[in-house]
C-alpha cells in the first residue's frame, strides 16, 4: 500500500519535471527573436546569420529542437554556452558543489535552530514568549534578503571589521578562514529559512498537542518537556520533516540574492549572469537544476508524510 503510494508519487514527480522542461524550453526557445541574429549583432551579413542558424539547429521545427535538447539534458550534456563557448556541463560542474556546500551549511545551522524555536513556542503556546516569537518570525519572513545582507555587511564587515564582505574560498583555507568566509552568507540565508521552518514546526507540534492522547499524558501528570519531546514530537515528525523540506526549497530562491551580494561563485549567481548575457543553453540548464532540486524537496516532503502516517502503515 505504502510502496504503491510512494511509487505513484515518484511517477507524478517525473511527469511534472517533464512538464517543467517543456515550460522552460518554450519560454526560452520559441521566441519571435532570433538567437543567431541576437548573437552576431546587427552588423552580421545574412549569410553568416544563416550559417549560424544552421549550426545551432534553429532551422528545425520547435518540437524537434525540444526533443534534441531534452535528450542532451538526460544524457548529461545540455549544450554549449553561447557566451563562453564552453560545455554547459563543465561550467555547472565547477559551480554546483559550491552551491551545495552553502546550502548544506545553511541547513546544518537552520534546522536545529528552527526546531528549537518551533518546539519552544508550541510548548509555551500563547505565552508572552510565544507571542513575541510569532511577531519576530512573522517579520523575519517579510524582510528582503538584501536588507539582511546589507545590515550584516554594515555591522560585521564595515563597523566591527570581523568578517570579509566577499566570500572567497581558496582550496587550502583553514577551518577558521572557511568559517569566517561563510558566516555572512549562511547567516543571511538562515534568517528567512529559520523563521519559516519554525512557524511550520510550531503548527505541526501544536496540532499534536491538541490531540486526546496528549491530554491523557497531562492528566497522568507528565511534565511539559516530557510531553512535548516524548509524546507529541515523535508523532509530529512527519509534518515537521515536511516543513523542513519545504523551507529548505526556499533556499534555492534565496541563494540568488545572497550569492550575488557576496560574490559567491555558486550556481545561482551563474544563472543571474546567464540572464544578463542572455546565454540561453546555460540558463535553461540552471533553471532545470533549480526546478529539479525544488521538486525533489517537495517529493521528499510528500514521501515522509506518507511513510510517517501510521494509518497508512498498518493497512
Amino acid at each position: 500500500m505504502i510502496l504503491l503510494l510512494v511509487a505513484k508519487r515518484i511517477l507524478i514527480a517525473f511527469f511534472t519535471l517533464l512538464l517543467v522542461s517543456l515550460v522552460v524550453f518554450s519560454i526560452t526557445s520559441l521566441l519571435p527573436g532570433d538567437a543567431a541574429q541576437e548573437l552576431l549583432g546587427q552588423s552580421a551579413t545574412p549569410e553568416i546569420v544563416a550559417e549560424l542558424r544552421e549550426q545551432l539547429g534553429l532551422n528545425q521545427p520547435g518540437h524537434i529542437r525540444y526533443l534534441v535538447w531534452l535528450k542532451g539534458l538526460l544524457s548529461g550534456d545540455p549544450g554549449i554556452s553561447m557566451v563562453s563557448d564552453m560545455p554547459v556541463r563543465d561550467i555547472i560542474g565547477q559551480r554546483l558543489p559550491k552551491s551545495l556546500m552553502l546550502a548544506g551549511l545553511t541547513a546544518a545551522v537552520s534546522v536545529p535552530l528552527a526546531l528549537l524555536i518551533g518546539i519552544l513556542s508550541a510548548m509555551y503556546r500563547d505565552s508572552r514568549l510565544d507571542r513575541s516569537l510569532n511577531i519576530v518570525t512573522l517579520s523575519m519572513i517579510a524582510v528582503p534578503e538584501f536588507l539582511v545582507a546589507t545590515i550584516a555587511v554594515i555591522v560585521f564587515a564595515v563597523q566591527l571589521r570581523w568578517l570579509p564582505s566577499i566570500t572567497i574560498v581558496s582550496p587550502d583555507a583553514t577551518f577558521g578562514e572557511l568559517a569566517r568566509a561563510f558566516a555572512m552568507p549562511v547567516m543571511t540565508l538562515c534568517f528567512v529559512v529559520v523563521a519559516q521552518m519554525a512557524r511550520m514546526t510550531r503548527a505541526a507540534v501544536i496540532n499534536q498537542l491538541d490531540s486526546p492522547y496528549v491530554e491523557m499524558a497531562i492528566l497522568k501528570g507528565a511534565r511539559p518537556t516530557r510531553i512535548a519531546l516524548r509524546h507529541a514530537f515523535p508523532n509530529a515528525i512527519g509534518p515537521v520533516v515536511n516543513a523542513i523540506a519545504l523551507s529548505l526549497s526556499y533556499l534555492l530562491g534565496g541563494a540568488i540574492i545572497v550569492e550575488t551580494i557576496f560574490n559567491y561563485p555558486g550556481i545561482a549567481s551563474l544563472m543571474v549572469n546567464a540572464v544578463t548575457s542572455r546565454d540561453m543553453p546555460l540558463l535553461q540548464a540552471c533553471a532545470m537544476i533549480f526546478s529539479g532540486a525544488y521538486l525533489m524537496m517537495v517529493l521528499v516532503a510528500d514521501i515522509v508524510a506518507i511513510v510517517s502516517n501510521p494509518k497508512l502503515r498498518h493497512r
Binding site: 510569532n134 512573522l138 538584501f146 564595515v158 530562491g253 540558463l283 526546478s291
Partner: protein, 271 residues
C-alpha cells in the same frame, strides 16, 4: 491578546501609510526625482535633505517617495491579477468535467514546481523587462499558488449541501460557481491576496536589486538599493532607507493579515 492587537494595529498603520505614499508620494517629494541637488554624494541624514543624498547627489527622500509608487503599484496590480485569475481558473476547474480539472491542475503543478524567482529570471532573459512585462511575470509566478488554494476551497464548497440543493434546483454551473461558491471563499482569498502581495514585493524588489527589474530612469525601491550599493562602506542612508522601506511595507502587510486571521478566531473564542 492585547499584544497581537497591538502588532495588528502597527501593521494597519504601516499599510495605510504606504498606500498614501504610493498615491500622493510624488506630490510630497521636496525635489525633482532626477535633479542633482546636493553638493556632496552620500550625505548624512538631516539638514536640507532629510534622508541624505544618493550616489549622484540626488535627494533620497524624493526618490523614495517616487519609487514607492512603482513598488506598491506594480505589486498590487500583479497580486490582484494573480489572485483573480487564479481564483477564476480554480472555479472553472472545480465545476468542469474531471479531465479538464485534472489537466489544469497538472499544468499548475508544473508551474508551481518552478520556484518564482527562477521562472521570473527565465522570462526576463527571454523577453526583457518592461513595466508591463514585470507585472505579468509576477502575476504568472504567483498565480499557480493562488489557483491551488482557491481550487481546494472551491472543491470543498462544491460538496456542500446548499450547492447540491442549487444543483437539484436546476441552476447552471456558471450560476453555481459565481453565486453559490465564490461568495463563500472571498474571505480566505483576501488573506491569500495579502500574502501574494508580500511575495510579489519581495520578488520585484529582488529583481530590481539584481538590475533585472524596473529599468532606469525609473526606479523602484529595489533599484534604489542597487544604485546606491557603493555607499555600503560609508553606511549611507541612501542604501539603508529604501531597504528599510521595503521591509516596513512587507512586515506591515504580514502583521495585518496575521492579526485579522487570529483576531477572527479570538472573537469566536470569547463569544
Amino acid at each position: 491578546m492585547n499584544r497581537v492587537r497591538g502588532a495588528g494595529l502597527v501593521g494597519l498603520v504601516l499599510v495605510i501609510a504606504w498606500g498614501l505614499i504610493a498615491l500622493f508620494g510624488p506630490m510630497l517629494a521636496p525635489y525633482e526625482v532626477g535633479a542633482i541637488v546636493a553638493p556632496d554624494v552620500f550625505e548624512r541624514m538631516g539638514g536640507a535633505h532629510l534622508l541624505g543624498s544618493d550616489y549622484l547627489g540626488r535627494d533620497v527622500l524624493s526618490r523614495l517617495l517616487n519609487g514607492a509608487r512603482f513598488t506598491v503599484g506594480l505589486s498590487f496590480g500583479a497580486a490582484l491579477l494573480a489572485s483573480s485569475s487564479g481564483a477564476a481558473l480554480a472555479l472553472f476547474s472545480a465545476i468542469s468535467v474531471r479531465w479538464v480539472d485534472e489537466t489544469v491542475s497538472r499544468l499548475m503543478d508544473a508551474l508551481i514546481s518552478i520556484p518564482g524567482k527562477i521562472l521570473a529570471l527565465v522570462i526576463v532573459a527571454a523577453f526583457g523587462s518592461s513595466m508591463v512585462l514585470l507585472l505579468l511575470i509576477a502575476a504568472v509566478s504567483y498565480m499557480p499558488g493562488a489557483f491551488r488554494i482557491a481550487r481546494s476551497l472551491a472543491v470543498n464548497l462544491n460538496q456542500m449541501e446548499y450547492v447540491q440543493v442549487a444543483r437539484v434546483r436546476g441552476e447552471g454551473r456558471v450560476h453555481i460557481a459565481i453565486f453559490e461558491i465564490l461568495p463563500n471563499m472571498i474571505h480566505p482569498l483576501l488573506a491569500d491576496f495579502g500574502l501574494r502581495f508580500v511575495f510579489v514585493v519581495l520578488l520585484l524588489s529582488g529583481l530590481s536589486f539584481l538590475g533585472l527589474g524596473v529599468q532606469p530612469p525609473d526606479a523602484d525601491l529595489g533599484s534604489l538599493v542597487r544604485e546606491n550599493i557603493s555607499g555600503l562602506a560609508e553606511v549611507a542612508p541612501a542604501i539603508i532607507a529604501p531597504a528599510l522601506a521595503i521591509a516596513t511595507l512587507t512586515i506591515g502587510v504580514n502583521l495585518l493579515i496575521d492579526s485579522l486571521a487570529s483576531g477572527g478566531r479570538s472573537v469566536t473564542d470569547e463569544a
